[in-house]
Amino acid sequence: MIKNIYFDYQATTPVDPRVIKKMIPYFGEIYGNPHSRNHPFGWEAEEAVEVARENVAEIIKANPKEIIFTSGATESNNLAIKGLADFYGDKKNHIITCVTEHKCVLESCRFLSEKKDFDVTYLPVKSDGLIDLEVLKKSITPKTLLVSIMGVHNEIGVIQPLSEIGKICRENDVFFHTDCAQAVGKIDLDVNNMNIDLMSISGHKIYGPKGVGALYVRRKPRVRIAAMMSGGGQERGMRSGTLSPALCVGLGEACKIYSGEMNQESKKLEKLRTLMLDGIRSKCDEIYLNGSEVERVPGNLNLSFAYIEGESLMMGIKNLAVSSGSACTSASLEPSYVLKALGVEEELAHTSLRIGLGRFTSEEDVNEAVEKIVNEVNRLRALSPLWEMAQEGVDLTKINWAAH
């Protein structure tokens, strides 16, 4: 029996056993409604939620009162962008975001431009995946309400310059929202130093449970957002609905673990990433890393394997769970919009894989992956007419290909 190895930590992470242990009582013996103010059952649940809120606040250096629990980063991003637009839209109606943002940010912005008469500027990225701060500055107008730029990219792992963006936003009296689903636990975050007004957080990207996330909403100076759901006015009126203490506790514990272990985990992942990348590159030529080499988190490798198509490579390494930036796994047949935005040629975008390393990845896992990937790359290149032509010295860009 071949063992499957997980290399898709940007898609989701397993819940840390320490997190599960903390959560379990809240599925059984502790069942009160945290919003019940009149009896010990409610108080017990409420206390657990508040401790969790402190743990979430701690990792981003916020005040616990500024943390709103949600169902996940998608909801947090929707609530931040649409909620802010709803509250301030009659005064300012321009949003700046970036072409490589997550779909839930892009779609929220598209909704506002189509239905609510907002103007949206989509900043391009440089070839390293980072935005150009000068272009950001020039894009700000007196009508600009919000800049929304993610912290760490889900597909290519690059780290945007949050401090610099925050500074520009504060100087121009513009709100700054950042989707930090992939950034929490990976880079140091400080909402005050970075001038962040709104931040989205996800549970399941940080070894917490799925179905829970948080939104940081600054209190000083106060940031107002309109609620999207009508209800009992929980979470300071911004997000109605009874909280799940088990899920909140899980998110809180996941944050707490990272508060203590981020640095050592990052060091371990850097070692594993070097092992993986050097291992592959020592045996295969023309392996390209997508996104900045420097400004990136250690758990993400997005690689283009020139002359072989991504999905066929995935088929050959099928016990390694990786993700494809190539088109052929999705119904659309379009290569990744993120790689396109970086200016990665379509030829190379079709050959890319995202390899995610995480808390439970071992050196043996990486060694096995390197061996499998190297073997498969060499096998598929022997099968590839493009590889053959390149070896013969044919310039592939000079051939008149029939697009289909």
């Binding site: 002359y307 072989i308 198509e309 999905e311 066929s312 088929m315 050959g316 190539s326 088109a327 052929c328 796994t329 119904a331 047949l333 290569p335 040629e345 379509e346 030829e347 079709h350 022997a382 099968l383 590839s384 007419p385 493009l386 590889w387 053959e388 592939l396 290909w401 029939a402 697009a403 289909h404």
Partner: protein, 127 residues
Amino acid sequence: MAYSKKLVDHYENPRNVGSLDKESKEVGTGLVGAPACGDVMKLQIKVGDSGIIEDAKFKTFGCGSAIASSSLITEWVKGKSVDEADSIKNTEIANHLALPPVKIHCSVLAEDAIKAAIADYKDKNKK
């Protein structure tokens, strides 16, 4: 996406991988697709004096379905006359490999490749 056993077999053990001498008058070469679209097939046939395809070779850049489609068609055309090979339909390939709907274009490409190889052979041998 779960693929059929036949498809996986052709992907893991592709038949007739390689190249024939493209300068030879007996050899027809078809190169179809585009790198930017994610698939390129090179299919070559060697035709004997009797008009029967004696050998076929391929190389493919593309997904598993594209590799399997081209491997399968090289198996099918060997021993056939040029005209018989020319009449192979993509639907036969798609059915045989049980291609999912989004992969039908891989079988179309394989049909295009054999047709292109035959056209090249005929062009070289115009009387």
